[in-house]
């Protein structure tokens, strides 16, 4: 054993910005920007004061939700929303599986890959509410516009995540199937599908509850469903009925979340 004097102190070297002066300048700059940005926000404290009162009534409505007096509207909205969610999820899955496969670099030829990526980009770049406004203008008020909106949004979401999952598969398994002389369809069925299926099922369930939540939002711009009921209730200052609607939405989303985590464990 030799007695080399090893250093007894060690610090992690800065990884991103090596120059300490530049680093501190950036920190200071960020702080100054934050202060200035907050300063430009105009707050009308009088209106906040008035709003508090309305907010308090809203909270009271939550505490004493009224399920009964508008039950017909609520139940009709719920059924509409659930129908919209279910049909849009199913239609979305049917359309997005082929697009997802086409958008996977390791399965699709270049032109098809770019086409499918373009469809995904288009679907993802438009927010649900904007699509809903457009489709309500085209197809009129009601759940059909809502169904189309959610289907369109589902395609972007599912195809993109499915394509990324396919690109991440274990290539060795695909290579082994290719080596048997399998055709392209057989390769997808035997090497890709078993690897991505559990995650695809998880994503579909996740999208189902996103679609339900979104159905409440797009209802506000006229696409039918529970959102329309909620909007009407708020317009009429019936905060107790609005509270009931929100509680039901929360309960359904929680139930979907709970059951989907169970199903996901089971399909592993």
């Amino acid at each position: 054993m030799t007695d080399t004097a090893y250093p007894r102190q060690w610090r992690r070297p800065p990884t991103m910005i090596r120059d300490p002066r530049l680093r501190w300048a950036l920190y200071a700059g960020a702080l100054v920007y934050l202060v200035l940005a907050v300063g430009t926000v105009e707050v009308n404290w009088l209106r906040v004061w008035e709003g508090l009162d309305r907010g308090w009534r809203f909270v009271l409505g939550f505490l004493q939700p009224d399920f009964t007096s508008r039950w017909r509207d609520i139940s009709q909205g719920l059924v509409e929303s659930l129908t919209m969610t279910m049909t849009a999820t199913v239609a979305g899955v049917i359309i997005s599986v082929p697009i997802g496969i086409g958008a996977a670099r390791n399965l699709a030829p270049r032109p098809i890959y770019y086409l499918c990526r373009a469809i995904i980009a288009l679907s993802r770049s438009l927010q649900e509410i904007i699509i809903a406004i457009l489709l309500v203008a085209m197809f009129g008020f009601g759940p059909f516009a809502g169904f189309l909106t959610l289907t369109f949004a589902t395609i972007g979401f599912l195809s993109k995540l499915l394509a990324e999952d396919i690109e991440d598969i274990d290539e060795a398994q695909a290579e082994a199937i290719r080596a048997t002389g399998a055709s392209w369809g057989q390769l997808v069925n035997y090497a890709v599908q078993p690897q991505v299926m559990p995650r695809l099922i998880g994503l579909v369930l996740y999208r189902f509850d996103i679609n339900f939540r979104e159905s409440a939002v797009i209802g506000i711009v006229g696409a039918g469903g529970i959102g329309a009921t909620l909007n009407t209730a708020i317009d009429r200052y019936e905060y107790d009925s609005a509270g009931a609607v929100l509680l039901i939405v929360i309960a359904i989303v929680m139930a979907a979340e709970y059951s989907s985590s169970h199903i996901r464990k089971w399909v592993q």
Binding site: A172, E175, T180, G181, N189
Partner: protein, 272 residues
């Protein structure tokens, strides 16, 4: 019979993986392909069934020029070439039986394979092969429920289900313990012997290669630097392939492995 003629592979990056490799494997011969990592062993066997597209040269399987085939013809040719992989490459979430039957994919149509409705002959043959590799009882288990040695046996059964005229074997023992490695190598060699199958076995364990192959081809930087019987593989040849190393020590360590295996086998026999 397999003929590899002046095979050259240059990757897009400019790396020359193979430089004009030529050899012929007659029916029933088991060839051990050895060489250091990066010598092009893996590329070479993948060029035979064109999982990797060769840049120049030809590969002939019983007078059929595989390198000249269009896509559909290539799929038909691949059915005749069984392949066994490093790390098994089974489809983990499919059952053992589905994995074995996937060896028939080149012979059945899409819908038949999609609905898993394989013909009676295919199914009987798959069971026969599972019985041959000693996994009859595991047919309905998922592939990821098996141990390493068992998985490689499934891999062997899958390759044989193709009813191949040639076996390509890529590092079959890379992730197995010494005892299981010997069992797997023994099984592969026995099966090649039973069926008169030619095989190219890519293997980095020189001792194992010498023990089981009838002929050794040594590859270094994409070139054949040795081609001969295992007995001719002496220290000077190994140095030519791999560079300077203490070969005697390696042999001795491997003999100890062998002795330990025999010892364990005797003790097991004593217990029964």
């Amino acid at each position: 019979m397999l003929t590899v003629d002046a095979l050259t592979k240059t990757y897009k990056t400019g790396d020359k993986a193979l430089r004009s490799v030529s050899f012929t494997v007659p029916k029933g011969q088991v060839v051990g392909l050895i060489g250091p990592s990066g010598a092009g062993k893996s590329t070479l066997i993948r060029c035979v069934n064109r999982l990797v597209e060769p840049s120049e040269g030809r590969v002939l399987l019983n007078d059929l020029d595989i390198t000249a085939l269009p896509a559909a013809g290539l799929r038909r040719a691949r059915r005749r070439i069984g392949m066994i992989f490093q790390e098994y490459a089974l489809v983990e979430r499919l059952t053992v039986m589905e994995n074995v039957l996937s060896g028939r994919l080149g012979y059945v149509g899409f819908w038949r394979s999609f609905l898993r409705r394989f013909g009676g002959d295919d199914i009987a043959n798959a069971f026969r092969l599972l019985d041959r590799v000693g996994l009859m009882a595991h047919a309905d288990k998922r592939a990821d429920a098996l141990s390493g040695g068992q998985r490689q046996r499934v891999g062997i059964a899958r390759a044989l289900a193709q009813d191949p005229e040639l076996l390509l074997v890529d590092e079959p023992t890379a992730s197995l313990d010494p005892k299981t490695s010997r069992q797997i190598m023994r099984l592969i060699v026995e099966i090649c012997d039973e069926r008169g199958l030619p095989a190219i076995i890519n293997i980095h364990d020189v001792v194992l290669a010498q023990q089981f192959a009838q002929r050794i081809i040594g590859l270094k930087a994409g070139e054949v630097v040795f081609d001969g019987p295992p007995t001719a593989l002496d220290e000077s040849v190994l140095t030519r392939i791999y560079g300077e190393e203490d070969w005697t020590a390696m042999r001795r360590a491997s003999e100890e492995d062998d002795a330990a295996e025999r010892d364990a086998a005797e003790r097991m026999a004593g217990m029964v």
